[in-house]
C-alpha cells in the first residue's frame, strides 16, 4: 500500500485541537527545531530525493511549508512519486482566485483544471494564482485526443494560460473506449511533450466505462495516473479495476466523489459531503480527490476530512444519504414527461427542486420554478386527487410536486 502520510510532526494531528492552538503550540518548537535541524529537515530531504527520483522539478510539499495550518495527509501518486495531499482542488467552477489561495495556504497541493473549462479562462485563473507560488502546487490539466499537432498546440496554449513553463500532469480528456487509451497519435503527442520538458507525467480521465478504461490504461504501461469518477455508488468492478491499476503503478485520482452532492431534508443537519469523501479515501489505492470548490466554506469543509477515517457516524450518515437520495434523487431521465394528463412540466419542476435541495442553491431553484408557465407548474398538483404520472425509478412524483410547489413559492412575492 502506498499510503504515505507526511513525516511525523507534520502529518495528521489530533483533530480536537484548534488550528490556531496547534500553530501556537508548535510554532515555538518548530522555530527552535528549524534553527538546529534546518540542514536535516526530513521533508526537505524527502522532497529532494523525490525530485531526484521523479524528475527535475522539486515537490511542492518541500517548498510549500508556508501553510498556516498543520494537518495535511499525503499519499504517493503512483509511479509519479508525487506526494499529494489527499484533498486536491477541483477548479472547474471556481471564479475567485482567493479561494484557491486559501486552499494552498492550508497545504492542499494538487489543482485540477482543463483547457476547455470556462473557454480557457479556468486555466488563466489558476495561472493567476500559481504565477508567484508555482512551487506550492502540482498542476494537472487536460487535452482532448486529436491529431498530434493540435494536441501539442493545445498544451502549449495551456502553458501560456497557466503562466508556467511546465505542467505536472497532462491527461487525455474524457476517455470511454480502450482504443482511445491506446491511440498511437495521442501517445506520440504526449511522449513528445514529455521529451520537450513541457509536461512531467501522463494520464487519462474517465467517467464512463471507468473499469475498462482503467484496465486498458494499466495494460499499456505508458501512463502514470488516472482520474476517474469514483464514489460510494460506484460498482465493485470499478474498485477492482482501481486495485489492478494501482498495482500496475498508476496513481489514482478520484472525481465526482459526492455522487451528485445531494442534500435532503431527510438528512437533517447532517452533511454527507465529508462522509462521502472519507468513503473514497477509505480506499487506500486512491491517492487524492478533486472535489469542486467555489467557496471558502467548501475548502474548509473538505480540508477537515484529511487524515480522518470513516466513523460509525459517518457510515450511518452515508447510509442515510444513500437511502434518502434513492428516494429523492431524480436522474433527470425525462421518462416522466407527458405522463401527467394535466401537462405539469414534471422534469422542470424536479430540476428546480434538485437545484434547491441537491445543490443547496435555493434562489436558483426558485427562479427556475417561477419561470415556468403557470399552467405547467406544480400548482395544479395541490388539487389533484389521483396522480397518474409515472417515474421509472420509483420516485413519488405526487409528493415531490407538492413539496416543490410549497418550497419554491415560499415567501415569494
Amino acid at each position: 500500500m502506498k499510503n504515505k502520510s507526511a513525516p511525523e510532526g507534520n502529518s495528521v494531528v489530533n483533530r480536537q485541537m484548534d488550528r490556531r492552538e496547534f500553530l501556537g503550540e508548535t510554532s515555538k518548537g518548530i522555530l527552535t527545531a528549524t534553527f538546529v535541524l534546518s540542514s536535516l529537515d526530513p521533508l526537505s530531504l524527502a522532497g529532494k530525493w523525490l525530485a531526484k527520483e521523479t524528475g527535475e522539478k522539486e515537490s511542492p510539499r518541500v517548498q510549500g511549508r508556508k501553510r498556516n495550518s498543520g494537518p495535511v495527509e499525503y499519499r504517493r501518486l503512483g509511479k509519479t512519486g508525487l506526494m499529494v495531499a489527499t484533498i486536491g482542488f477541483g477548479a472547474m467552477r471556481t471564479r475567485n482566485p482567493a479561494v484557491i489561495h486559501r486552499a494552498l495556504d492550508l497545504g492542499i497541493n494538487y489543482i485540477d483544471t482543463a483547457h476547455c473549462y470556462q473557454g480557457g479562462n479556468n486555466e488563466k485563473l489558476v495561472g493567476q494564482v500559481i504565477e508567484n507560488r508555482r512551487q506550492d502546487a502540482f498542476i494537472a490539466t487536460k487535452v482532448h485526443v486529436k491529431n498530434r499537432k493540435e494536441m501539442i498546440l493545445s498544451v502549449e496554449s495551456s502553458l501560456r494560460s497557466l503562466r508556467t513553463d511546465y505542467i505536472d500532469i497532462i491527461q487525455l480528456h474524457n476517455l470511454r473506449k480502450p482504443e482511445q487509451v491506446t491511440s498511437q497519435e495521442a501517445m506520440a503527442a504526449l511522449e513528445q511533450l514529455r521529451k520537450d520538458g513541457k509536461v512531467r507525467f501522463l494520464g487519462v480521465t474517465t467517467h464512463e466505462n471507468e473499469a475498462t478504461v482503467l484496465k486498458s490504461a494499466a495494460g499499456t504501461g505508458f501512463y502514470d495516473m488516472v482520474l476517474l469518477k469514483y464514489n460510494f455508488r460506484s460498482s465493485p468492478a470499478v474498485k477492482e479495476a482501481i486495485e489492478i491499476a494501482e498495482k500496475a503503478g498508476l496513481g489514482i485520482v478520484a472525481m465526482k466523489t459526492q455522487a451528485g452532492g445531494y442534500r435532503s431534508k431527510e438528512m437533517g443537519n447532517l452533511s454527507p459531503h465529508q462522509a462521502a469523501l472519507k468513503w473514497v479515501l477509505g480506499n487506500k489505492n486512491v491517492a487524492t480527490t478533486i472535489p469542486s470548490m467555489v467557496t471558502f466554506a467548501q475548502v474548509e469543509e473538505n480540508f477537515q476530512v484529511m487524515g480522518t477515517r470513516m466513523s460509525w457516524n459517518d457510515r450511518k450518515t452515508l447510509s442515510r444519504y444513500a437511502r434518502a437520495t434513492d428516494k429523492v434523487y431524480c436522474r433527470l431521465c425525462g421518462e416522466c414527461r407527458d405522463t401527467c394528463p394535466d401537462m405539469v412540466s414534471i422534469p422542470e419542476v424536479m430540476r428546480s427542486l434538485m437545484y434547491a435541495e441537491g445543490y443547496g442553491d435555493f434562489p436558483l431553484g426558485r427562479s427556475q420554478y417561477v419561470s415556468l408557465a403557470p399552467d405547467r407548474s406544480a400548482a395544479k398538483c395541490l388539487q389533484c386527487k389521483r396522480c397518474k404520472a409515472k417515474c421509472v425509478n420509483g420516485l413519488n412524483i405526487a409528493a415531490k410536486m407538492v413539496r416543490a410547489h410549497h418550497l419554491l413559492t415560499r415567501g415569494y412575492s
Binding site: G90, M92, R93, T94, R95, N96, A98, V99, H101, R102, A114, C116, Y117, Q118, G119, G120, N121, K124, H173, N174, T205, H207, E208, M255, S292, V294, T295, F296, A297, Q298, R331, L332, C333, G334, R337, D338, M343, S345, P347, E348, R351, Y355, Y359, D361, P363, L364, R366, S367, Q368, S371, G411, Y412, S413
Partner: protein
C-alpha cells in the same frame, strides 16, 4: 363514400397536428432549438453532417465532461449541437452548440464565464466575441458557442456567417439583462462584468450577483452587486459578512447615511472593503487602498439601482 372518408382523414390529421404541441412538448422544445441552427448548406461548400444531437441536465456530462457543472450552476436546460463540414477540405469543420439557459441573466452569466478580458468583441446578438477557434454570443435565454476545426480565415468568416444566422433566428431584440444597468459605466474595465449564480467573492453566505472591475487611479478595485430574492435574505447576507469579518477580519466599523445598513472593514482575503445593503441589494467594493476611494463608486451604484428599481 370516398369523399366522406377523405373528410374524416383530413379532420383527424388537422386534429392530431393541433394536439402535437400539447402532447409532445419535448419534441417541440427540441425542434425549437434545432430551428435556431443554420440550414444544412448555410454557405456554399458547407453541409450539416448527420442529425443534430441534444442533451439535457442529466446527460450533459457525456458531451462536455466536467465543464457541465458550470452550465448546471447557471441553470442549463437544454443543448442542441450540430457538426458542419466543408466539402473537399478535411480540416474545415464547424461545431455549433445552442444552449437554452432558461433566462437572459443565466445566458449572460455563462457567456461572461467564457469571455476573457482580452476578448475581441463583435456585433452579433447581445454580445459576441471571437478567438482563433471559437465564436460565442448570447441573445435572450440562449448561449451559442461555435468551434472551428482550424483557425483559417475561411473558417472565421464561416463562423461569423453561421452565428449571424443563429442570432437572427432567435426571436426578440438583442438586449442586455437589465441587471447590468446597475453597474456605473465610468472607469469600468472592458470585459470584466460577470454574473455569478451564487456565493459572490467565494463566500457561501453571499447571494449570486454581478462582479466587475474598475480602474481608480492606479488601482483596480472590484465592485459586486448581490441580487437577493428579498430584503430579508439580503439582510441575512449582510449579517453573514459582518460575522465573517468578526471571525477573520478586523477594523469593523458600521456606517450611517450610505444606505439602510453599511460597514467598512478589513477582510482577510479582499483587503479594505465597503459593503452596503439597500432593500434586496447588497453592494460592495473590495480590494481598496483606502475606504474613501470606493465610496463614490458605491454611491453611484446605489443611485443607479434606486433609479432602475423605482
Amino acid at each position: 363514400m370516398k369523399r366522406r372518408l377523405a373528410f374524416i382523414i383530413t379532420i383527424l390529421v388537422v386534429g392530431l397536428w393541433g394536439c402535437a404541441d400539447r402532447y409532445f412538448p419535448l419534441s417541440r422544445e427540441k425542434s425549437e432549438l434545432e430551428n435556431l441552427l443554420p440550414p444544412s448548406s448555410f454557405s456554399p461548400g458547407w453541409r450539416r453532417e448527420k442529425k443534430p444531437s441534444s442533451y439535457n441536465p442529466g446527460n450533459l456530462y457525456e458531451y462536455i465532461d466536467g465543464a457541465a457543472e458550470l452550465y448546471l450552476d447557471y441553470g442549463f436546460k437544454k443543448l442542441v449541437t450540430a457538426l458542419y463540414l466543408y466539402e473537399g477540405k478535411k480540416d474545415y469543420s464547424l461545431i455549433i452548440d445552442v444552449y437554452d439557459m432558461g433566462s437572459e441573466l443565466n445566458a449572460f452569466g455563462i457567456h461572461s464565464s467564457y469571455r476573457g478580458s482580452e476578448a475581441q468583441l463583435l456585433e452579433i446578438g447581445s454580445e459576441a466575441y471571437l478567438t482563433d477557434y471559437t465564436l460565442a454570443f448570447y441573445k435572450g435565454k440562449y448561449f451559442v458557442y461555435l468551434q472551428a476545426g482550424n483557425p483559417s480565415g475561411e473558417n472565421k468568416t464561416s463562423m461569423k456567417k453561421a452565428a449571424q444566422i443563429v442570432a437572427e433566428r432567435i426571436p426578440g431584440q438583442a438586449e442586455q439583462p437589465r441587471e447590468l444597468s446597475y453597474l456605473p459605466g465610468e472607469n469600468l474595465l472592458k470585459n470584466t462584468s460577470i454574473y455569478v449564480p451564487k456565493g459572490l467573492l467565494g463566500y457561501h453566505f453571499l447571494p449570486g450577483g454581478l462582479q466587475a472591475e474598475y480602474q481608480l487611479g492606479k488601482e483596480k478595485i472590484l465592485l459586486f452587486v448581490g441580487l437577493s430574492p428579498s430584503s430579508r435574505e439580503a439582510r441575512e447576507a449582510f449579517q453573514g459578512y459582518v460575522e465573517q469579518i468578526k471571525k477573520a477580519g478586523k477594523n469593523l466599523a458600521f456606517q450611517t447615511g450610505l444606505a439602510e445598513e453599511a460597514f467598512f472593514a478589513d477582510d482577510s482575503y479582499y483587503g479594505k472593503v465597503l459593503v452596503a445593503r439597500h432593500k434586496r441589494f447588497l453592494v460592495g467594493v473590495v480590494n481598496l487602498q483606502n475606504y474613501k476611494e470606493g465610496e463614490s463608486l458605491l454611491k453611484a451604484t446605489l443611485k443607479k439601482i434606486e433609479i432602475r428599481e423605482e
